[in-house]
Structures are given as C-alpha cells and as structure tokens.
Amino acid sequence: MTQARTLYEKIWDAHVVETREDGTCLLYIDRHLVHEVTSPQAFEGLRMAGRKVRRPDLTLAVPDHNLPTTARVDGEGHRLPIKDPEGAQQLAALEKNAPEFGIKYIGATDKEQGIVHVVGPEQGFTLPGTTLVCGDSHTAAHGALGALAFGIGTSEVEHVLATQTLQLKPSKTMEIRVEGQLGPGVTPKDVILHVIGVIGTAGGTGHVIEYRGNVFEEMSVEGRLTVSNMSIEGGARAGLFAPDEKTFAYVKGRPMAPKGADWEAAVAYWKTLKTDEGATFDRSVVIDAAGIVPTVTWGTSPEDVVPITGTVPAPESFADATKRAAAEKALEYMGLSAGQRMQDIEVQHIFIGSCTNSRIEDLRAAAAVVKGHKVDPRIRQALIVPGSGLVKLQAEAEGLDKIFLDAGFEWREPGCSMCLGMNPDKVPAGERCASTSNRNFMGRQGPGSRTHLVSPAMAAAAAITGHLTDIRTMAGEMA
C-alpha cells in the first residue's frame, strides 16, 4: 500500500519531472493561458534569446484586461480602435506574438473571447488533474475542476513558454470543510466571503486549499469556480475541488475536451483524483453552513466581511492593534462610520461581472431578482458584463439581456471591465459600487473608488433598491 495522499499531492507528484537536492522540483505544466497584460515582456524575452515556445499546443491566448466593454465593431463590422494608447499597444502585441509563436489566439471580436478564467473551463481547455498556469493571480479559479492552477509572474510566463515547466517547491496543504445546510439566499459567493472572513487574507499563505464537505460537494461547477477563484484572497496560491460526476458532466462535449475513447480513459483517471482516506492536511478549518448568511464587505480587504444584517464594525472592536489601525483607515477611505447598518448604505454603481461571477448561473440569479423591476434612479451606472461571448449569447438566447435592459442596466461586451481600473469602466472617486468581483482594495475599481463585494443576487437587489439589501427580504425574487 502506498502512503495516503491528498488530492494536491497526487496532482503534484504526477507532474514532477525532476527534484533538486534542496527540494525544488521541476514541475510540468499542462496548460498555459496567456493574456495581453503580463505576456509582452515574456515574448520579448524569448525573442531576445532566440527561443521558441516549447508547446504552443498547450498554450491559449485571449485578451481581456484592457479591452473596453463597449461595442468592438462599428455598423459595417470594422474594428473600433482602443483609445488608451497603452492598452491598444498591449493588445497589438498579443495579436502579433500569438501567431508569431504559433499559439492559438482567441481575438477581441471572436464570440469565444472572454475573461481567461471563464474561457479556459468553457472551452474545455481546463481539465481535471492538469497543472494550469496564467500570469494572473485569479488562475486559482480553475481549481474548481480539479486542476492544480495558480498565478505566475512575467519571468515565469517566459519560463513556461520556453520550457513548459516551472521550478517550484511544494506548498502545504489545507482543507476547508463546510458542512450542513445553507440557508435561503446564501450563494457560493457568500460562502467564500464568509470563509475568508474566518481564515483572514493571510490564512492560506503557503498552502493549497482543498474545499471539502457536503456544501461544496452539492455546489454546481460554476459555484465552485466562484469559490476557488477567491482562494487567493484567503492567501492561498491555489484552491482545489475533487473532480466528481458534476465535473465530468460539465467538461464533457466542450470544444477542447477529450472525445470518444480518450474521454473514457480520462474519466477513469480523473476518478482516482481524490484525497485518500487517512491522508492528512497541514491545516484544517471546519465551518458550519448554518452560520453563513448573505455576506458583504465593509472595508478595503476581502476579509472585512459582515452579514448583510450587520453593522459597520468599530475599529476598537478589533483586539489586534494593526487591524485596528487598518480598520480606521478603511472606514475613512470608505466614507463609513462604525455602527452604520449595512443595509442603509447607498450605492451609485452596480457591477455584475468579473471572473468570480460572470457565468450564466450568475446572470440567471441576477435576472431572477431584476425581473419586473427598475434600477433605482439614484444609481448612476449599472453594468452587466458577461464573462465571455458565449455566456453573452446564451444569456441572450434565454432573454436575460432583455430583462436587464428593460430594468435599465447596460449590457456589455465580455472582459474584466470594472473589476480593475485598467480599461474605461471605472467607479469615480468617492462613489460606491456593489460589485460581484473579488477585490475591494483601495482604488481597485478606479482611483478613490469604494467597493462592496457581494453575490450577483445581492448586486441585483442593490440596483433595484439603491442601497445594499438583504436578498432574503425580496420575497419571491430568489431563483
């Protein structure tokens, strides 16, 4: 009998090419996603050294961060230029580098274009048991399918392009178990926000998290993508879900997924990918599902969470002096005072999108709340940004676009959009946004922007009422 291993250890072991004396491993990388922001210098490095991409067939490029989400072609189908010269330059560099190095490229106007972390799973590029990297920290999302997926820096992007490997030391293992029954209105986003509130933003540092327990087992694959996506916000490099029948059903038939006999062989292998009975984790956290309620953030760190029924905490309530100082600063930045009821906080912007919450189930959940209502007149901008062109088409086929447009939302082209202030979609200084994205850092949605992280249903509810709202009070609106 071999030693009992965790899922992480199984995937890691299956990818070690060599181990150095000091424990550093040469780890084989099965999948590499490339976008326009972190790749230009990597390609330039290859060019300067006269190197090639070792496995262009394991690499997929798609632009997302810089692209404006307004129309990309004019009435005659001509490409509209990007106004920001640097954004345009980064896009042009990717459009040139991908074909030059023989990499498959999904272009800005292709219907498959979207946020890398939405496109990978959607195309069947992300598979269980594979190692997957991308020059972006939210690569952790792909762990939802049982892939060991993590973000890397530009030198590492170049290293993977040239060698299809990385030099790495193994991480520690951590399990997060959520057991019991989730209450009404509690979505995967609320679960992960709650988890981060429990473990803190440094809670997972140096670890890879495996999500276990009946709540995660019962969760849809899209919900798992939301959860795994935010592993990085809990300090972990990656998140993992053991692949199961739901995973297989999700992957099956996707364009880049195995077919026929290959499919059968793949599933047989994927079924072995679970943590063995008796395997141990370096750290274990168990959370009672019944204690999780719809959750929102009040501050400038994803760990600054409270139940929507709660109030803005007083800095004095934190025992730790650094945390106290951080809370004071956060409240000043957010323009909030201790004791304010979360539900009384008015917002001026709504953003439903980002690699955390822009898939079809997210849009359906938001549409179910919006249907038959209007966006509150005090809201300045309410954006719905599908995670990919295919999500957008699916939503349109279901008539969701009409529900949103009728209510007064804007229906945009896919991209990172208002998740980060790198393209034209920004929250103006001092204004407040209920956002389904993953980071509420100072200035993340634009200089001076104030972010409250919420689920798609809660963002939709806030759009209708004009303030943060407990979804459970919107009777009959929940999907």
């Binding site: 090419v17 060599e18 000091d22 040469l26 084989y28 099965d30 999948r31 230009p40 210098q41 330039e44 490095g45 050294a49 190197r51 070792r54 067939d57 394991l58 997929l60 640097e86 954004g87 330059q89 980064q90 560099a93 498959k104 069947g124 590029f125 598979l127 594979t130 820096g153 530009t154 030198s155 170049e158 290293h159 040239a162 060698t163 299809q164 490997t165 030099q167 364009p255 880049m256 997924a257 195995p258 077919k259 290959d262 499919w263 062989a265 793949a266 292998y269």
Partner: protein, 197 residues
C-alpha cells in the same frame, strides 16, 4: 545572459535607505510592452533633484550602485530589475535587500552584494573618486586602496551568474528529462493534449 565574472568600474554612491521599487521605476512604466528602454524612467523622482548622482557626469554609465538598507522594497514588479539592467548596472551593493528584489535581480543577471554598513560606508567614500572591483569567483569587493570585503553568495546563484545561465537556460539543460516526461505522459494519457481546431 552574459556571464558575470568580474565587474570593474565606477559606482553610483547613492547610499539612500529603503529605496523602493516605485523609486527605482515609477508605476506609469508598468503598462509598457518591453523590458528595454526603462533606464529612461529609472530613479525619475531622484533625478529631479539637482546634483543627483545619476546625472553627475562623474558617474555616467557606472556598472555598480551602492545603496542603503532594504534596497528594492515595495511591490514585486520585475520592472525594477529591468530598469537597472537597462542603465547598465550589473552589481548593487547594500547592507540589505528585499527578498523579492534580489530574486528578480538574479533572474535578470544582476548581482546583489550584501555587506555590513561599515564596509558600505567605506565603499561609498572610495566610489566618489575611484573605481571598485567585484569578483564573483572569490566573492570579494576590492578597491585600489587595499580594501577587501568578502560577501556571501548562494552557490546556486553563483554558478548561474558565472555561467551566464538564466533560470530558463538552466531548465533548458534539463530538456532530456522534460522530453522523457512528455513521451511517457503522452503514451499513458493520450487525452491530455487539448483538442485545438
């Protein structure tokens, strides 16, 4: 990368503590698509002060930079190393460095030398008038005045710098192992390749 065996030349006597990556290269350079040409933006804020060492003709093109404690702190941007490279700096000497910066510098063929404050002070003095000499093989910094300071250097990093091997170059030496891994994997798990139209 070029092998780095010895470096002989003048040194910028900067001496400032806590030089963060934003001081080395301001954030506005992060949206570039190239890693060359960044020397123009390097130490921009410091260069606005008249009499700064970077614009002093005395030190033009120096391959060495001498700084105070905690050089390279702040964000993890690799642009800081690219900017120094573009200026032609091959060695930075300081009493301490941020770990991430040292790692990024090494990946880009720049040597970071840690020496005690007294040694750094002495080198600052020499740098104002004379060249200094850095020898990787013997791990020493020497001056024309019989000063001789030995520094520590991780053996792996030393081998890489001496051989002009970047991390990619080193991994490429393991190509045989990677080939074998791929062959075995492709045979055992033929489904692993994505279906690319």
């Amino acid at each position: 990368m070029e092998p780095l065996k010895t470096v002989e030349g003048r040194a910028y006597p900067l001496g400032v503590k806590n030089v963060d990556t934003d001081m080395i290269i301001p954030a506005k350079w992060l949206k570039t698509i190239s890693r060359v040409g960044m020397g123009k933006g390097a130490f921009e804020a410091m260069r606005e002060v008249s009499g700064n060492v970077f614009d002093d003709p005395e030190y033009q093109g120096s391959p060495v930079l001498i700084a105070g404690d905690n050089f390279g702190c702040g964000s993890s941007r690799e642009h800081a190393a690219w900017a120094l490279n573009d200026m032609g700096i091959k060695v930075v000497i300081a009493p301490s460095f941020s770990d991430i910066f040292s790692g990024n510098a090494f990946k880009n063929g720049i040597l970071t030398v840690v020496l005690p404050q007294e040694a750094v002070d002495r080198l600052m003095e020499v740098a104002k008038t004379d060249p200094i000499h850095v020898d990787l093989e013997t791990q020493t910094v020497t001056t024309p005045f019989q000063d001789r300071f030995r520094f520590e250097l991780d053996p792996f990093r030393k081998a890489c710098l001496l051989g002009g091997l970047d991390e990619i170059g080193l991994t490429l030496e393991r190509t045989g192992g990677i080939d074998r891994f791929e062959q075995r994997r492709d045979a055992e798990q033929p489904w692993i390749k994505p279906v690319l139209a």
